[in-house]
Symmetry: C3
Subunit: 348 residues, 3 copies
């Protein structure tokens, strides 16, 4: 028997199956420093202990998406090593902050299976959860991936496609314990725009662009202990469809989210991931831009509201044009990311 | 009203204006690890807790220039987002060490304004200060930048150009509290040359070279939360005068200073920045070399003296030749940096 | 007298000479985060405090090879600045774990000298040791390098070539104090294969490949404070034999070892380095693959055994083919590393 991990194929998954993922990771301020160095993040609550403490937290947590990438990375060897495509995300929630010194681990439950009509692949739906060292769930999300069959003659399982909400409902959002905005300093946060200053339908161009280098996305993806081969192996990729290393989709999410600081600087903590599509592949040398649309708003408590944001990532195209889809509902060729999330933002 | 930060234009500044800069940052050993990974710094007092403790400090502080870059980065969105050029530095002093766990924040006062005769731009002089979480000032410096006007028909302000010292006076230098050289180990520090071994006019070639990669300067500049667009956006820069991303001038200062270890290994802490010019732009692929000239010397106390050092950064040229200016006082084409600082060095 | 370090030449070394190396370094979780970002390491004991604690350690130590590179880096300015070639390693042992907050320092003893018949170079054998801040030896190893003579007319020293063991004997391996496997969780470790599952002569392809970028190996090598010029200076290297920056051999060792997780995931701690050859140079753009052969096995205690592993690093070639040498005992052109080490692995 081979000792190397060949990953799971479609017929290895069963509805209800629980998968414990390998390699717990103790995160630290170093991971956050990497996050800043890789994406240029400037949300103050994640940047400074003093600012986080002024909001009632014990210190600066790790950036929400950083924790997400770590948990996601752990699922890769079991869920998506033989994936053809990462089809979508839904029902993601951040349940409590992750702090330096916490150890993150992950597990997943298989909640849906549907073989494709070609008999070669199938779609696997998993509900993945991240835990800290106290066994507390810090996040959860559903994703579905198209996975190769090992043996095309293997019988198809009974198809089951789970019902997934279009978006996390506003009243399911979890405000971190003790968080308040009593002493919120907009000058230190870098934005003077609060919950009430935004309106549904508003579109915001985030102006700035970031060009991606191979060393950057490789270091990021390894930091997250994500093992998907396509991100690292140019010798193999040169013979692939694109001839290039593919950049981890989460790298583009984080770049777009960091760019969105310029316009959404107070929308500081991600509370939920409603959905997300990696519309087109991104390669080293591409410059990522982003624009956002406010899709919905929800009052959380006296201090905070939540903005539901569509975050659109573009490559090599001006975000002021708010490019998205054409009249046939086809994505513009510059769109690489269509991401839908809820963010917490103080009231004014 | 746009929610994105368009930065300040020349007519937005007024003499005496106080600007609180955004995004305090809690620094840690991770920032120092990045500094080592990016520049190869080896000054022992910043490298090892044990060495710093042998000199009377509680532990290894963060490298002086690292703290400088963090403070500088915070000023960019308010001061130099619309800058045409960073013209100079003066009167910079490091007032106390910055330690892992400290939170750095920054503010600036506008101390000079002078519109240029073309009516399109003006020079803004600011005095910037960095503070730790206790509100103690850890550094201060003046810089002046040429900034675009938003509206060329806006009236010129009354011109005021502050008087700036050619160099910080030796008796204004601040030796960190409690610092001594009783147990200084030159073998561990990596140099056997002390204060008395140097003389005014001495020139030292630092021999080694470092080639800069795009991923390196981008990661550095983002780590410092510096948002100047020209460093990151190749899609926009391809149509610029140089067709390339420009490297943050501070990246070159740090590379040159780290190279200067080879010859100035005991000149371990920067105490003041007397001046600095980014003589020519640097691009990825350039190899940086450095040489130094001792401009002045000053006795600090029984244990330490200070060397005033001219640090010259070259690209793609041999530092043994001490290239600087021609007979018409014009910089040699290889010179990218002409930097003037005071460094603390133990007596022998 | 020049103030720059020109390094030692062959005639500067004497048998019995003790060399204290410069620049102690306080290591931290940041160094481990870099190690993960650079190599994608996933050995659980180094990744998570919780996992390390379940094995009886106070927390996650720093990766063995990371500590090795730091100690090695310190020896470079004194031992190999004028080296023509790094010829080999032997008798390396890891004596106790290195933890975040420890300060590493290094010293070496010259144990052998032999001038080459050309009169231009000689071979220097040194026994190097790394220490923590308590003065405890954390590792030791021997390496030998070919070093230039400064003056070819200098007389040859009496030749002495030390006897070096082919491999560290199994009963000289040091299991970290208190380490046990009572609660070892293979699902979290990422491998279900234990000591008894391996056999001598077994060959394992590690499947995955990693393409190296210039920014990556430069950042790694500077993080280790390794000052060998050939890794950093493209301006000088363009006129060298290869026309390129050479990648630090240790970078390739770490990449190959990290790749070996896929097949040796429970062989979690390196206990000894028996030998190693950098068979051919590696350059940015090369994709590294690895395969291993089990050379020997040794029972350590009730909980653990040790595997003696030959780790072969390849560039741009399929590890499934187990390429090594041809019938004339000449290395295949794809082989860049032939490394021999002992690893600790739990019993099943």
């Amino acid at each position: 028997m081979s000792k190397t991990n060949e990953g799971n194929y479609f017929e290895d998954f069963q509805i209800g199956q629980e998968i414990i993922h390998a390699t717990p990771l103790t995160v630290s301020g170093a991971d956050q420093a990497f996050y800043t160095a890789l994406y240029g993040s400037r949300f103050a609550v994640y940047s400074a202990d003093t600012f986080a403490q002024s909001m009632g937290l014990p210190g600066a947590p790790l950036e929400d998406l950083l924790a997400f990438h770590v948990v996601f990375g752990k699922t890769v060897p079991d869920i998506s090593l033989n994936a053809v495509a990462n089809l979508g995300y839904a029902e993601g929630r951040f349940l409590q902050p992750v702090y330096p010194g916490d150890t993150l681990s992950a597990s997943s439950e298989v909640i849906g299976l549907k073989e494709n009509s070609n008999g070669k692949t199938g779609v696997v739906y998993v509900r993945s959860s991240g835990f800290n060292q106290h066994g507390e769930k810090v996040m959860e999300y559903t994703r579905w991936v198209m996975v190769n069959k090992r043996d095309q003659s293997a019988p198809a399982p009974t198809a089951f496609v789970p019902h997934l909400a279009d978006a996390v409902s506003g009243n399911e959002l979890v405000v971190p314990n003790g968080l308040h905005a009593n002493n919120y300093e907009p000058a230190r946060a870098g934005s003077s725009h609060f919950y009430e200053d935004y309106h549904i339908g508003e579109k915001i161009s985030h102006v700035d662009g970031m060009t991606i280098e191979e060393a950057e996305h490789q270091m990021a993806t390894r930091l997250f202990q994500n093992t998907a081969k396509v991100h690292f192996d140019q010798h193999a990729q040169k013979d692939s469809r694109f001839g290039r290393r593919l950049i981890y989709g989460g790298h583009v999410i984080s770049l777009a989210r960091a760019l969105s600081f310029n316009g959404l600087g107070n929308a500081c903590m991600m509370l939920a991931i409603n959905g997300g599509r990696h519309v087109a592949p991104t390669f080293a040398g591409d410059t990522i831009y982003a624009w956002s649309e406010i899709l919905d708003m929800h009052e959380l408590d006296d201090d905070f509201g939540a903005l539901r944001v569509r975050l659109v990532g573009l490559k090599n195209a001006n975000p002021n044009d708010h490019l998205l889809k054409d009249s046939q509902d086809k994505y513009d060729s510059s769109v690489v990311l269509d991401f839908d999330y809820w963010a917490l933002i103080p009231k004014g």
